[in-house]
């Protein structure tokens, strides 16, 4: 199999994920875009691992680490989204009011 096909697929997925992050209004749907970008990177790692074929399996091991980091990322990201929802009443990032430092201090 040609190495270019997995690489092109990962480029396409990265672009689609980037569009999702930039264009979506709901914060949870933005996280879906982030997941697509992370999967594109994982696919790149696995493809290059199969191409290089070193004895340490570095590409596939790093892919496993990436998956674990992505799980941590989605857990923290959803906690932040829930905090945003609790503070503003919606998960819409366009409507979110960004606290200045003064307001945040006053709220405390």
């Amino acid at each position: 199999m040609s190495l270019v096909w997995p690489l092109l697929l990962s480029c396409a997925l990265f672009g689609i994920g980037l569009y999702g992050v930039l264009a979506r209004r709901n914060a949870i749907l933005m996280l879906i875009g982030v997941e697509l970008m992370l999967n594109a990177v994982n696919l790149n790692l696995v493809a290059f691992d199969a191409w290089w074929g070193d004895a340490l399996r570095s590409g596939q091991s790093l892919t496993l680490f990436m998956i674990a980091v992505a799980a941590a990322e989605i857990g923290l990201g959803l906690a932040i989204v829930l905090g945003l929802f609790r503070a503003t009443g919606s998960a819409d990032v366009d409507l979110a009011v960004v606290d200045t430092d003064e307001q945040a201090d006053g709220a405390r």
């Binding site: 199999m1 570095s58 091991s61 503070a87």
Partner: protein
């Protein structure tokens, strides 16, 4: 063109198509479900490349855990689930242009750098759980341990962020209803 290559291209088509729908559908729950199809197609691609263990981890963690977390959060934030519930921002044309430019640039780099390179057909046992386990618990054992600390920190952070402490509730009583009107 070999059978493996043909199957890979078909799975790529499925992945790209469902990823496009995942970022463009107007119903929030459908976006999460299209993401399932994308992740499953990518798991199939892993199998075809020869990364058997990664494929099953992908199914277990991404499809099993991450998508369930996403759906859970959609329910918790009381996201509107009807049609037109997942609108995009007004700058989606700029976003589309930026994404096409990025993807095109990356693809140009990949093609100019790696055109003509071939992947060897997957050998038995290369991506199996045994060989990946040997690699992780041999060479990569220190990063693996550090990763457990990262996961612990993320767990504690998520708990702290979602905790309703008494000091927060006392903070600004009129704050929440006022901002909810936006």
């Amino acid at each position: 063109m070999s059978m493996v290559e043909l199957t890979f291209l078909m799975l790529s088509g499925v992945a790209v198509f469902s990823a496009l729908l995942a970022v463009s559908t107007t119903q929030v729950v459908h976006a999460a479900l299209w993401l399932v199809l994308t992740l499953g197609a990518i798991a199939g691609c892993y199998l075809l490349i020869g990364a058997e263990f990664i494929a099953w981890v992908q199914v277990l963690i991404y499809i099993g855990a991450v998508v369930v977390l996403l759906l859970f959060a959609l329910m918790l934030t009381r996201a509107p689930t009807g049609p037109d519930s997942a609108t995009t921002t007004s700058n989606r044309n700029v976003a589309a242009a930026v994404s096409v430019l990025v993807a095109g640039g990356l693809a140009a780099i990949m093609v100019s750098g790696f055109a003509g390179e071939r992947l060897a057909p997957p050998r038995g046992g290369v991506g199996s759980a045994a060989s990946i386990g040997d690699a992780i618990f041999g060479t990569w054992v220190l990063p693996f341990e550090i990763l457990s600390l990262v996961l612990l920190a993320a767990l504690v952070g998520a708990i702290v962020l979602t905790r309703r402490g008494p000091e927060r509730d006392n903070g600004a009583p009129g704050d929440v209803p006022e901002r909810a009107q936006h």
